[in-house]
Symmetry: D2
Subunit: 358 residues, 4 copies
């Protein structure tokens, strides 16, 4: 079952994905994971089920600014570095994700990593680090993430297929009361320009009864014993594109992640940290530097296909996270089951919504 | 067929509606429409298909402030009075909707209406007037909306069932390339407090191919000849509740309208003015006035059922608008067909998604 | 005394002004006023002391979009068209100012003006109209502003020296409890590029005891009989520049108007509508149209001289408004005295702060 | 000279300060500093000149939420925890400040401190940590701040006079090219209610030529050799009040810090991280907790005296930071002179602006 993605199960999605159906379809974007799984105590009290994921917007080894914009859909989360993005539209280097209590260590590790490369002008001290809470499966108060995990995630970052599910920052995550984690997807935007939009999520949100796949309320048919009364999770969504967008346009794009999230059934619960960031890999070398410099930008009406792509790819990336994540046991023997994909398929089939036989 | 609402057709929605399944389920909220349909020229060049809708947050004849918050999901629209709502969280009187080119006349008409009642302290000059574009069916450059239409909408405002479809500000609207207009719905929020959340939309948005009902891509199965290449519409969503919410909490609630809109298939296209406003009828008489005054407010976690209700009711209000709106011919004989509800029902039935036989 | 501007009185300001020391130093920017003063009743109850001011960002007769950004420093005011500016950074045509109760008529008049020229694509229906309250001197409930006044302000718009004081939208305004109104100033920004920053204010804000000129608390030395206990005014600040700035950079620039306003002593009182908008005349012809189109933009650090210029010019424009405005009597014989500039000069002289003998 | 504050030098400020003229005049607010000064290498390359400052909003040893609001005046800075404040208006515990590269370690230290007390519900993982850059005097790449420094700052927090200048997070700061650091001031707001507003700044901003004290351009008369061409600093401003304000009202209050900052001459330069946060100590025990709970709140017009107080106290706190900070030598023998207060006094005297003989 491992390795099958949402589309492999016959789940229908609108739009045309890129070759990898992943954020790495946007040329130059790289993703790296460092997964931290350990624990020796018989009672599971030191069970680490956590990690770090890095998204590098450009293929350079040096840090290099790109345009970015973000959206706070529901603010029970942390995403450092956002005042600067709000102010200038600049994203200065890698984006990292981890668990809620490890934002600090990862942030300082990025700073140290940049300092080591001599990349520490003043501004470079505002790294972007996001989080979701993995304290159900992970001994989160054990602070198992160390600086070298962040460095490893950055240094392993590569193009190509993106490992999904229980990896990196997504290792211990829970989504719609099934095992969640990292998911990715992409779209080739409608229209002659064929821009690519890629999405990566760290999915840790939602109640089972809300889960919607391909528009069907599958969650209602796949109840969990001892369902949560309240949502406790969060989701980070990162949207990359090669379309030349200005900072205010990237804020617009980030805001569409809300609509992709809505397609999976979420209502952005109170304790959810639903923070979304979009960046463009275009205008490389031009977003900074002296003088009136020349930039390329789409006209606003040309954003429509990008909006559609971002919504579709966010929805699919969430289902990809669910499809990839495997049942996990962790902290104090807490156990979270993978979403039973064969039963999902069965529901879709019953409703005549399967794209192709599983 | 007239008068059948979405639920009457067997379309399934989550959650429990209030008795009227309308914004007027929130006690004290009143809605009034003034529909302007006229035209005598054979070529249809003076065909008025427009109007004004008024939402009165309280049952008083005097203006009275309530707490409010708003969200700009996509800003190709106008909603006057929002700087003051951002600043103070106060909504000082009726909300009006009309067509795009008549915002000014309606705004001044509200001012004159208030002045006539001696209700014109300085602040009272910031009325809230929203719009969507009806220039396809309506001779919008004919400026057919006059001050008395706004006054009529306000004065006719009443509780009870809300007329939907081709009425008031919604008269000439087009939604998912079918006839759109005004729609409403409500929810009794989950939980012991049973707060009510009511929604009213002026629905003028979306491409046919995007239309999703009950999670099914019905738009793809009901194509329109000469489909629009780009979305040109907009949607206004107003959310009322009797739950005691503070201004920042109402901004949170307004932001959930995006997720209800997403359920109907929209991606908030570039030229869409998707502006949402939420208000609370609680704390009457306490939101203003001297001194430290005593207010009631929910704790943040208690907002979850309200979030869910707002998402569900927005989705349903849009389908109610589509179900109620009848085929219309107007400006220069432009004609927009009603959404063929029997065919929608058929699609839902085929996919085993009908709540009850139509 | 008429015609003497702040600098003519020897009031010192930092920075180097452009040739006109006005917003029209930014090439292509035009300003037009239509002043409405009338009234025949002996009791002064129909005394009109109001008007309309138009700022045209470009020299074209056609509407043409430029990049813009705005800031809500204190939202007890109206500035229509801002959701679209927030969304896309586009300002599509003239900016108009008038009194609080005439925003609607002026808004619709701009629409009609554009329609007459065939300039009414859908988006063109979001004109930018701001206001401040002139109800002390003006029979504001008499609704004396008519559509033709707005048309006249637009059509009279011209480069060159900007009439200040009791003109156009500023006719009946009161500032620091002296006669206020329109003021303008400009700066040639520090640095090799010598960008121009121009400011126009409609100044109707502040308590006398707060008034600060050249850093000196002159208001405390020039008390008014029957001083207001609370601020009731507002200020609109428009910042123009020829520097190539992107929308997010123009928001940054608009936010500096707050700091210029602070220099004149204001604390942005609760009932003040302090709304600021900045636009760039650069990138003409490139901000729209099918793209990817090529744009020019400054790097963020290059904004420092523009920030300084905007602060300085806002401060000076306010004093220019005070210096130009003459004593006025109006509605019900209400009378507001001009700020006694000779006494201001005397105070500055006593403190050794006069730039040159008056 | 040590220990003399701005008022002791005869510098005039508007308004009436509280007994301590410090943020601790707001009952229950406590401040603690941990100053880190060390270094043994002859070349000064390991010279630590840094630290941590903690502001505790309430007198409880437990963490306890209060209402808060923040403002990003210029975003080249970090202030963690702000998405949650934006969302819910809740500040859940201590605020900490440190140098730019130590935000991570301090953040995690707050988490650990809370965990040690069993105060780690999920939400408690969003501590508020701000920074300004001290890399000129401090070996900032040496990462000298350790978790125990954060713990010490929290645990030493106390009421009473607030140590200013080269202490805590302000140790190595530079302000208007003089030695800067921590400063504080307070106001008893005008009006019958006599609310208290207290301010604490970590002042690290401004160019010498911009420095304005009591409205006089003293910076221009006190040039520095080798003046900086560009501003590189930042300022954090924290505003406390005992007035019962709701979250949206605290955002309004935070926005007034900009105007106090403007009075000292700043234009919020591009690389300045000017982040401001306001909180209210009222409604203790009521901001959270189940059920519609009862809150107290001022009416909007009652905020005017608070606005004035926040502006005045911010201005004074900055001058207090300058007055208290002593000449420091640090990293690689960089040396920053204290502002020569006797010369400032002389300038004020010459301009007849001294409140009382020094």
């Amino acid at each position: 079952m491992t390795g099958r993605r949402a589309r492999d199960w016959g789940i229908p999605f609108a739009g045309v994905p890129g070759p990898l159906d992943a954020i790495t379809d946007v040329a130059g974007v790289r993703v790296g994971h460092c997964t931290v799984v350990s624990g020796t105590r018989p009672d599971g009290s030191d069970a680490a089920r956590t990690g770090v994921t890095a998204i590098l917007p450009t293929p350079t080894t040096e840090t290099e600014a790109v345009f970015a914009g973000w959206h706070n859909q529901n603010g029970n989360g942390e995403l450092t570095g956002t005042p600067w993005i709000d102010e200038t539209g600049l994203l200065d280097g890698p984006i990292l994700t981890t668990n809620t209590l490890s934002v600090g260590v990862v942030r300082d590790a990025v700073v140290a990593w940049a300092a080591r490369r001599g990349l520490l002008p003043q501004r470079w001290a505002m790294p972007v680090v996001g989080e979701t809470w993995d304290g159900h499966l992970n001994d989160i108060r054990g602070f198992h993430v160390r600086p070298e995990h962040a460095h490893e995630a950055i240094e392993r970052a590569t193009g190509g297929a993106v490992p999904e599910g229980n990896v990196g920052g997504g290792t211990g995550m829970v989504c719609y009361e099934a095992k969640g984690g990292i998911g990715s997807a992409s779209r080739v935007a409608r229209g002659p320009s064929r821009w690519t939009v890629g999405v990566l999520v760290q999915a840790n949100h939602g109640l089972r009864r809300q889960l919607t796949i391909a528009g069907l309320p599958v969650g209602a048919e796949l109840p969990v014993p001892a369902a949560e009364p309240e949502e406790h999770g969060s989701i980070l969504v990162f949207v990359a594109t090669d379309a030349p967008l200005l900072p205010h346009q990237l804020r617009r794009l980030a805001r569409r992640a809300t609509m992709g999230l809505a397609r999976s059934g979420s209502v952005s619960g109170n304790s959810s940290g639903d923070l979304f960031l979009a960046f463009s890999t275009a205008n490389r070398g031009a977003v900074e530097g002296p003088g009136p410099r020349s930039l390329s930008a789409l006209a606003e009406p040309e954003m429509n296909p990008l909006f559609e792509s971002a919504v579709e790819a966010t929805d699919e990336a969430i289902v990809n996270a669910l499809a990839a994540a495997e049942t996990m046991e962790g902290y104090r023997h807490h156990r979270v089951e993978a979403l039973p994909m064969p039963r999902v398929v069965e529901i879709l089939q019953r409703h005549g919504r399967l794209a192709s036989p599983a």
